[in-house]
Subunit: 143 residues, 2 copies
Amino acid sequence: MSPTEPRSYCPINLSLEIFGDAWTLLVLRDLMFSGKRHFRELLQSDERISSNILADRLARLVEHGLLTRSGDPTHRQKAIYSLTEKAIQLLPVVVQIGAWGSRWVPDARKLDAAARRFVRQLQEGGPRLWARRMDELRAVHLR
Amino acid sequence: MSPTEPRSYCPINLSLEIFGDAWTLLVLRDLMFSGKRHFRELLQSDERISSNILADRLARLVEHGLLTRSGDPTHRQKAIYSLTEKAIQLLPVVVQIGAWGSRWVPDARKLDAAARRFVRQLQEGGPRLWARRMDELRAVHLR
DNA sequence: CCGCATCCCTATAGATACTG
DNA sequence: CAGTATCTATAGGGATGCGG
């Protein structure tokens, strides 16, 4: 059967544990693009995630192998979260969702010039630029 | 600022109305890859969506401009749903989510050979093949 | 039949307050 | 700082209704 022909049974795995939940996506976004590593930092997002929800989602992500949790040696802050390779490979998907949203769902919030440039470059940079960001994440998150 | 440098404020629009909800994603998947167009057909998915939930999600998708709703002239079945261009342009994202899931979240269900080939071709075919499927969807869904 | 709308009921998500 | 406990609102399953 042709890969473009409709099928009665669709074998595409939508990974609903991740993409079917809004808070999970926001956590991944912040870890990928805001340099946040600590519980408290992730709490401060504009979307006002509740602490119990954040704790729940972090635990789920660790459970699914998308994050690892370890102690922070410098500040004696107990938890520092790191993206795994499995999570880092989600970056292209996250960027493309952002690209689609930027085209079709213009954000109500006013973005400053630097932010607009940031998004545009990430989108137009393509796989080359995504790979660079992925390498940066590997350098920081993978030991 | 470099587009790969972490930002305190992340301008990426995750389109949570779509990717933050599991049922919405399943409906889009079925419309894109299973050739389903009618309410009743969409009810029959393996995931057992309830009729009230399906009705709600279809209404939301129409409201957000991802679907149009019209009468079926042939069978006097009242509703037939069509993807808009806005929705068709989500196909690459959906396929890439599937690619990631196929690599990192091996499906518990046993897929038959045809299904496995279908997924593999869709993933390895790349943007060229996605564009072909998008054109096929345009031919069927856009008047 | 088909495409929903509505009602009821329960499980769970999530906001707020609190704790080690 | 990094979570837990508690309490409430809501999502969603299942049945049924209803006009066409």
